[in-house]
Amino acid sequence: MGNGDDPQFLPLTQLERLLRSLRDAGYDCIGPQLKDGAILYQSLESIHDLPHGLSDLQSPGSYRLTENQGGRLFDWANGPSSLKPLIFPPHENLWRANKGSDGGIEFSSYTPDIAPLAVLGVRACDLAAMERMDHHFLRPEKQDPWYRKRRESLLLIVVNCSHPSDNCFCTSTGTGPESRSGYDLRLHELDDGFLIDAATDRGEEILQKLELSPAAQQMVEEAKEELERAATVQGQAVAVDDFRPIFSGREDDPIWERIAERCLGCGNCTAVCPTCFCHREEKIPTLSLDSSTHQRVWDSCFTAEHSMLHGQPVRREIRERYRQWLTHKLAGWHDQFGESGCVGCGRCITWCPVGINLVAESAAFAVPEEGVE
């Protein structure tokens, strides 16, 4: 594993104790569980609720669970849920307007009441995605208090990824499969337990409560091999990190039209993407007309309202909307934040009903024209 720290060994039988220690320290716990045909983060009562012996098969537009022989708990690639809803919920109450006693309007803001939350089973790509979210919501000149509160409530227990799906490409984006920073506790699953190390004081405090033994050299080797395998089995890679020179001047390229023939304009890609942060504000009215609640709601560059200027959508067609999504994610993000908006998690590929593949579509722009089709 990583950067020279010496991991310890947590026997499988001690995992329940980890959960208990978290609860004793005041954390609510969530972890991956089988629900509605997918592996989702859910409130975690017991280690027995983890997806024991389950794996997944993902391809563009398809997600299926499978059984695996090994009986490990974390032998699957990310399902649809990321950290995004935990730090940037789909609906967040921001402020309220009330009719004052003097007939004027009074404004008040909502402060979310959030208990400390431990998330077990986070993957490297999602840690990287959260860092990108931080760069947006926690800019030094303008911090988002709702995001900040939720973000600070999280204790992140990552599990290194040993089972990337066919849609993953985190090796090429440099964001996985190993988690190197940004976590509190890090696990690497082996057949009869976990390598474990802490990167923060909060993580260290939990670590102190567990019965650990020093990790054998052969365990560390095994983990290293697994991570190498997970990095090299990935069947696809982004063509480049910064697409600005590639997309520049290609606004009317016929490739966009070809994508738009398949793209439904549904916006599932933006909803599952762990770095997409677009939102709109909605009011929740009351008929008595004496107050209204104002909510931040996930929006998408695929909705008409997203590009509304002077009452008209600037991007009317699916072609323009897809172009906005891809060019912002892979090029415009560099202008805004000095990095790519994509962390290679592959969710937009799996959860696109028609299996449009961001890696392949963007690669088409990177090859010389005569190479296309």
Binding site: L40, Y63, E261, L264, P285, S288, L289, E317, I318
Partner: protein, 254 residues
């Protein structure tokens, strides 16, 4: 200034959308204090000829009597808002538009007593409509939003994003991607709160088409899931068979 007068009219429909008013619960009592409901037969107020600020119209134009009434209602209403699939796209009864009225003879013992037009059509095919609320049935929240906007003097906005957007916000797992079900979400307008997918069922499009959609790609997607042409057609021909966006199916199917 008196309270704004509203009316609720029924045309050819099942009455389900009117129930969205009753389902407002406590808000209905508040509503009754904010507006004067002058005509709403199902609630006991009968004054169809009254002039109103806002007329809510449920149901399609399906009978000669429907045809006669709608013009007068339009003239006596400042704003006319259609509620539900029937009023907005012709409803389930518009299925007969495809096959003509031959079914009447085969289904009813005394068809001569049944007076229907050859086509079931949406209100907008006959008079100007100011706002359309899609749904089968519409929800109480849709009414709440529209009425409270109007009472504040704001132009009401109606949802125009895909069902997938609200499905994903609800945290439901996509039935199409995870189970290969022919979900209509990607071509359907949000508004129902994704009730079906939240219970593991594929959307059947009861809130109607979203304004920008790709019917032919949806058709190819369903074919890829193994649906036969007839089965694909049935997906689009349920609640909103007559809506122009779903009718494009013929072109998509080639």
């Amino acid at each position: 200034m008196g309270k704004p007068r509203i009316s609720v009219h029924k045309f050819s429909s099942c009455d389900g959308c009117q129930l969205a008013f009753f389902n407002l619960g406590e808000d209905l009592i508040t509503l009754a204090g904010q507006v004067e409901i002058v005509h709403f037969a199902e609630a006991g107020m009968v004054a169809p000829e009254a002039e109103v600020k806002v007329a809510f119209v449920e149901g399609s134009i399906s009978t000669p009597d429907d045809l006669e009434r709608i013009e007068g209602i339009r003239e006596r209403s400042e704003l006319l808002i259609t509620i539900g699939a029937c009023a907005t796209s012709g409803g389930i009864q518009a299925l007969r538009n495809m096959r003509g009225n031959g079914w009447r003879e085969s289904l009813y013992a005394s068809p001569e007593f049944i007076q229907t037009l050859d086509y079931s059509t949406p209100i907008s095919a006959h008079v100007r409509v100011d706002l359309e609320l899609w749904g089968c049935p519409i929800s109480s929240e849709q009414i709440l939003h529209v009425v409270s906007d109007l009472l504040r003097g704001v132009v009401p906005s109606a949802s125009d994003e895909t069902l997938c957007q609200s499905c994903k916000r609800s945290g439901a797992v996509c039935t199409l991607v995870s189970a290969g079900r022919p979900c209509m979400g990607p071509v359907t307008r949000a508004g129902c709160g994704a009730v079906c997918p939240r219970f593991g069922r594929d959307c059947y499009g009861c809130t109607g088409p979203v304004s920008i959609l790709n019917t032919s790609s949806m058709v190819h997607c369903f074919e890829g899931l193994g649906l036969l042409p007839d089965e694909v057609e049935q997906r689009f021909r349920m609640i909103h068979s007559a809506t122009p966006q779903f009718r494009k199916l013929e072109e998509s199917n080639g």
